[in-house]
């Protein structure tokens, strides 16, 4: 393709979609984390009925396609009197969906902390609350971080589904440009941009992870 056209027409146009993609990702991830924490708490600490409710939620959102969830929230909810614009509907749908995954990985991180840690905390006279606050959660969050970052990176890609209901994010912009220019190779440019977002994020996460890793932990595992 013509370099000038690429640099001054196509690329800037696609680039307008990047902040939208990032907003969708960050906001839906944050919603997923907040709700996911509550769901995980309900499963770990909740009464039996509460735990069943959380579990059903998780099974439902993991067992049905994200696309269907987006359509339902955008097109289906207005019938129930809740009308959301496409951008908000996408965040809600992706966030509710992500919550189910985040809940499970938070829960398994908490469950991965050995029983002996609870015993040691109890033996020192710590209350249940103190035990979770000072002993269990700080370890669980380190266990969960790599999986949480994976989830974040996955969301960067899943936000492309918001294009279907008309959110002007990166992929929507790409499609528009392709149909306008008849140059399908633009898809490759879009792919490169997604990669340029995801790779550094993973890299940043690795740095973060090693910075906050429990000293000696890796060595102990080997």
């Amino acid at each position: 393709m013509d370099l000038n056209r690429f640099l001054f027409e196509i690329l800037p146009y696609l680039a307008e979609g990047i902040p939208v993609t990032l907003q969708l990702t960050v906001l839906s991830f944050a919603l997923g984390l907040a709700l996911g924490s509550l769901l995980a708490a309900a499963r770990v600490f909740g009464s039996a009925p509460l735990s069943v409710v959380a579990r059903s939620y998780i099974e439902f959102f993991r067992g049905t396609p994200l696309l269907v969830q987006i359509f339902f929230i955008y097109f289906g909810l207005p019938a129930l009197g809740v009308k959301l614009d496409a951008f908000t509907a996408s965040i809600v749908a992706i966030g509710l969906n992500s919550a189910s995954y985040q809940a499970e990985l938070l829960r398994s991180a908490i469950k991965s902390i050995p029983e002996e840690q609870y015993l040691a905390a109890e033996s020192l006279g710590m209350s249940t609350l103190q035990t979770y606050r000072h002993i269990i959660f700080p370890q669980a969050i380190r266990v969960a971080t790599p999986a949480l970052v994976n989830e974040f990176v996955a969301l960067v890609k899943y936000t492309s589904l918001a294009s279907i209901i008309g959110v002007a994010e990166l992929f929507r912009k790409t499609e528009y440009m392709v149909s306008y220019t008849f140059m399908p190779e633009i898809y490759l440019v879009a792919a490169a941009i997604y990669l340029a977002i995801c790779l550094p994020t993973s890299q940043f996460a690795k740095t973060l992870e090693s910075k906050y890793a429990i000293p000696g932990f890796k060595r102990a595992l080997i």
């Binding site: 020192l124 710590m126 000072h134 429990i214 000293p215 932990f217």
Partner: protein, 252 residues
């Protein structure tokens, strides 16, 4: 002495429907050092864990300094804060430095400010000769060092009673001596101790009394040297013979 520091009466406990302790009576006086011996699976760890209710007894009574232990949260916290517990596998908190491990209960239970609790923690660690490990994380330490930090953690609150569950048995033989040294040091300070251990030499030299437990009951107890050298019960004798031959093998 008027009243024993620890009094266990008719203690029964188990897991699920399996009874492990089948009526244990035991007392420890103030300043006394008592060693518990017994075969694997006889219920030694269960007995120790029942004292601060880390395992809930089925029935029986436990009194610490006269106070009846029960499941009331505030009673439990008070009693647990007056007992130190050392686990076989150290169970340090891996995400905290050694000194944080030692200082934590002072902060949370005694409500001491961080600086002050770390000062106390450091002095306990120096006393045990591990002051230089203060800034290290548990998993950066050898097993022997971890166990000594764990002993410091148990001692930080200046407990009335120190419970130790096979503190050396997870360690390689060449690392044991440093922990045994530490045990001698603690024993010399006159603290009341109840120790499950198969370190016969330590028991002989430092313990006032030895208790032999098998299949959930106390089979024999008495003066340390007496029981170790002239056991009255055949089960005790057999056990000691096997233990000594094992130690002999390890040494060669």
């Amino acid at each position: 002495m008027s009243e024993p520091l620890l009094l266990i009466d008719g203690l029964k406990a188990g897991y699920g429907s399996v009874e492990v302790l089948r009526g244990v009576h035991l007392s420890v006086d103030k300043g006394e050092k008592v060693v518990i011996l017994g075969p694997s699976g006889s219920g030694k760890s269960t007995l120790l864990k029942c004292i601060p209710y880390l395992v809930r007894p089925w029935s029986g009574e436990i009194r610490v300094d006269g106070e009846l232990v029960n499941s009331d949260p505030s009673t439990l916290r008070r009693i647990r804060s007056s007992i130190g517990f050392v686990f076989q596998q150290y169970n340090l908190f891996p995400h905290m430095t050694s000194i944080r491990n030692v200082a934590l209960s002072l902060e949370l239970n005694r409500r001491l400010p961080r600086q002050e609790s770390e000062k106390i923690a450091y002095s306990v660690m120096s006393m045990l000769g591990i002051g230089e490990l203060a800034g290290k994380y548990p998993l950066e330490l050898s097993g022997g060092q971890q166990q000594r930090v764990a002993i410091a953690r148990a001692l930080a609150i200046d407990p009335k009673l120190l419970l130790l569950d096979e503190p050396t048995s997870a360690l390689d033989p060449e690392l044991r001596y440093e922990v045994v040294e530490t045990l001698y040091q603690v024993a010399k300070q006159g603290r009341s101790m109840l120790i499950v251990t198969h370190e016969v030499d330590f028991a002989e030299a430092a313990a006032d009394r030895v208790v032999f437990i098998d299949e959930g009951v106390i089979v024999e107890e008495g003066d340390a040297r007496e029981v170790l050298e002239r056991p009255r019960k055949e089960r005790t004798e057999r056990f000691l013979k096997r233990l000594r031959s094992k130690v002999g093998n390890a040494a060669t």
